[in-house]
Subunit: 71 residues, 2 copies
């Protein structure tokens, strides 16, 4: 089932990761998440909790607000 | 268990709600959430998903980024 919000979030995470030249595994390690979970997130298949979003923001050294700017 | 992130989020929701003079029930209706859930959120007892955060942002007519500015 298509989910516009989760697609936008996944796209933002993929863009931020690619800009840093990180692999999904690299981001997963930095954010203390499982690699498969990061893959699912980027495909818009996961509805992450605020804590997971914060772990991603920390990994990218961004605030929650900066991370979600384009979502 | 104290949770700084969820406390900051709850505080932000309470402030935004109070600024608008809304009751918890009023916010719950606007965001299509249960009143008790809003109460728990404001006390930092819930780790909401991105969809729930987006429902709250929509209710306040804010972007996700604006909603999470102080979190």
């Amino acid at each position: 089932m298509e989910d516009a919000l989760l697609d936008r979030f996944g796209t933002a995470i993929r863009r931020l990761r690619s800009e840093r030249g990180w692999t999904q595994e690299g981001l997963a390690n930095a954010a203390d998440l499982h690699r498969n979970y990061v893959g699912d997130l980027e495909r818009g298949k996961r509805n992450p909790t605020l804590h997971v979003v914060a772990q991603l923001a920390d990994a990218f050294e961004l605030s929650l607000s900066e991370l979600l700017e384009d979502v």
